[in-house]
C-alpha cells in the first residue's frame, strides 16, 4: 500500500519486507547506548556542513525549563556563536525559537538587532547565519544554525534546505528519544520478570534439558479451575 504526503509516497509493504533483514544486521544487543545515540546525533550534525555546503553548523536545544542550551557545534566559532546567543538571549537562533520562523542574517557585523552578539563576535570568522526552528511533534525544541564565514545573501533554496535539515534533526531527536524510552521500558519489565520467575525458570530448564526437580512450583491452585466444578 502506498502512503502519500504532499508529493512523497511510501510503499509500506516494501518497508515491512525490509525490516527483518535489517533487524538481523543490528545484532543481538538490545537498545542503543547513550553513547551510540550521541554518536548518531553527532553524525547528523557533522554531515550538515557537507550536505548544506556551509562552513559550520550549531545546534541549540531547550532544556526542561525552556532555557536555550548549546547542544552541538562543528567547530569552535560555531560553539562560540551558540553560547553567546544562549548567554545574551539575543541572536537569529533566539528569534527563531521565539517566532518559530527561520531567521537569516547576511552579515552579523552589521546586524543592529543584535548589538551584544555583534560586539561579542567582532573579529571572529562568524558572519552570515541562517537559523531554523527544530520541531518534535509540532513543538519547538531548539534551533539549527548554519554559518558562513563571509557576508552572504542566503538564497531561497538555502533557506528551504536549512529548514528541511532542521526537520531531519528533529526526526533524529524523536527517534533517539523513542529508542531510549523503549529500552528503558524493556529494562523495567526485565526487572519485574526477574522478580517472579517460575515460568521463566521452567523455560530455562526446558531449554537446558534439565529435570523439573530443581524448580518445583507451588502446588496447583484449585480455586476457579474446572477441578472445583
Amino acid at each position: 500500500m502506498a502512503v502519500w504526503g504532499d508529493d512523497v509516497s511510501v510503499d509500506e509493504a516494501a518497508l515491512v519486507r525490509a525490516l527483518p533483514p535489517m533487524l538481523q544486521l543490528l545484532g543481538p544487543s538490545s537498545g542503543p547506548t547513550q553513547q551510540e545515540l550521541l554518536a548518531r546525533m553527532q553524525e547528523v550534525v557533522e554531515a550538515a556542513v557537507t550536505v548544506l555546503r556551509v562552513d559550520s553548523v550549531g545546534l541549540i536545544l531547550l532544556d526542561e525549563d525552556d532555557r536555550p542550551r548549546v547542544a552541538a557545534a562543528t567547530n569552535e566559532s560555531a560553539w562560540d556563536l551558540e553560547q553567546a546567543q544562549a548567554e545574551y538571549g539575543e541572536g537569529p537562533g533566539i528569534d527563531s525559537l521565539r517566532t518559530g520562523e527561520p531567521v537569516a542574517v547576511d552579515d552579523l557585523s552589521e546586524a543592529d538587532d543584535y548589538p551584544r552578539l555583534r560586539e561579542h563576535l567582532a573579529g571572529t570568522e562568524v558572519r552570515a547565519v541562517l537559523s531554523s526552528p527544530i520541531r518534535v511533534n509540532q513543538s519547538i525544541v531548539g534551533n539549527f544554525n548554519s554559518i558562513v564565514h563571509e557576508a552572504h545573501d542566503w538564497t531561497m533554496a538555502q533557506r528551504r534546505a536549512n529548514g528541511a535539515y532542521a526537520d531531519v534533526v528533529g526526526l533524529a531527536l524523536r527517534v533517539s528519544a523513542a529508542a531510549a524510552k523503549a529500552d528503558e521500558t524493556v529494562e523495567r519489565l526485565r526487572g519485574q520478570s526477574a522478580l517472579s520467575g517460575d515460568t521463566q525458570r521452567w523455560e530455562k530448564s526446558v531449554e537446558r534439558g534439565a529435570s523439573g526437580a530443581e524448580c518445583e512450583p507451588s502446588p496447583p491452585r484449585r480455586t476457579g479451575t474446572p477441578h472445583d466444578r
Binding site: 508529493d7 512523497v8 509516497s9 511510501v10 510503499d11 516494501a14 518497508l15 519486507r17 525490509a18 527483518p20 533483514p21 535489517m22 533487524l23 543490528l26 538490545s30 537498545g31 542503543p32 551510540e36 548518531r40 554531515a47 557537507t50 550536505v51 555546503r53 531531519v168 526526526l171 533524529a172 527517534v175 533517539s176 529508542a179 524510552k181 523503549a182 529500552d183 521500558t185 524493556v186 519489565l189 526485565r190 519485574q192 520478570s193 517472579s196 517460575d198 515460568t199 521452567w202 523455560e203 530448564s205 526446558v206 534439565a210 529435570s211 523439573g212 526437580a213 524448580c215 518445583e216 512450583p217 502446588p219 496447583p220 491452585r221 484449585r222 476457579g224 479451575t225 474446572p226 477441578h227
Partner: protein
C-alpha cells in the same frame, strides 16, 4: 530503495512521481545505477541516461520519462552491509561533481543513523510487548501448569512443555492456552 530478505531491493519511498518511476524501473529490471550502487556498495553516477549504455533494460523501462536524465545512487549501509540505496536525479544532463557525490554520501550516513536508531526502537518495543505479555499472563500460565500437574500427574517442566506444545500446535499464545485450560479443563489440542 531497501532490500528484502532475499536481498532484492524494492522501491520504498520517493519524493515525487519521477523518482518513484526511477525506483520501480530499477526494481523491475534489476539493473541501473541504484541497483549497481547496492550490489557494489559504492556511489554510481550517470550523467545522461539518454546516452547510457550500461543498463539497456533499465534505459528502455524509463524511456517514457524524459525528465529522468542524470542519476546518482549511493548505498545505505547498516554496519558494513548495504541494505538499500539513496538516489537522486536531475531532469537534464549533469556531470555530478565531487562535492555533490560527497554530500549525498554524507546524507546517506544520516539516513543510516536514523535507521539504526529506529530499528533499535522497533526491536526494543517488540521486546517490551513480549515481556509485558509474559508478565500479564505469568500467573495464568503458572496456574495452568499447576492444573496439568494435578490432572495428569506431571512434574512442573513436563506440564509446562504440554502447555507449550499445545500452544505451538494450535498456533495460540501460551497464555491464551492456559486461560482456555483453566476455563474448560481441556487443552485446545484435546478437543
Amino acid at each position: 530503495m531497501l532490500a528484502d530478505e532475499m536481498n532484492v531491493i524494492h522501491y520504498v519511498a520517493a519524493s515525487d512521481g519521477q523518482g518513484r518511476l526511477l525506483e520501480k524501473a530499477e526494481a523491475g529490471t534489476m539493473e541501473g545505477p541504484c541497483t549497481e550502487a547496492f550490489v557494489h556498495g559504492r556511489i554510481i553516477a550517470t550523467s545522461d541516461l539518454s546516452t547510457e549504455t550500461r543498463w539497456p533494460a533499465f534505459r528502455a523501462a524509463v524511456a517514457g520519462a524524459p525528465e529522468l536524465r542524470a542519476v546518482l545512487g549511493v548505498p545505505v549501509k547498516l554496519g558494513a552491509t548495504p541494505v538499500g540505496t539513496l538516489d537522486v536525479f536531475r531532469d537534464r544532463p549533469h556531470e555530478w561533481t565531487e562535492s555533490e557525490r560527497e554530500a549525498l554520501a554524507r546524507y546517506s550516513a544520516v539516513v543510516q543513523a536514523h535507521l539504526s536508531s529506529a530499528l533499535a526502537a522497533h526491536r526494543a518495543g517488540e521486546e517490551a510487548a513480549q515481556l509485558q505479555y509474559a508478565l500479564d499472563y505469568r500467573v495464568i500460565i503458572e496456574r495452568g501448569v499447576g492444573y496439568l500437574m494435578a490432572r495428569d500427574h506431571l512434574d512442573a517442566v513436563a506440564a509446562f512443555n504440554a502447555l507449550r506444545s499445545a500452544s505451538r500446535n494450535s498456533r495460540t499464545k501460551i497464555g491464551q492456552v492456559a486461560e482456555q485450560l483453566l476455563s474448560t479443563g481441556e487443552l485446545p489440542t484435546e478437543r
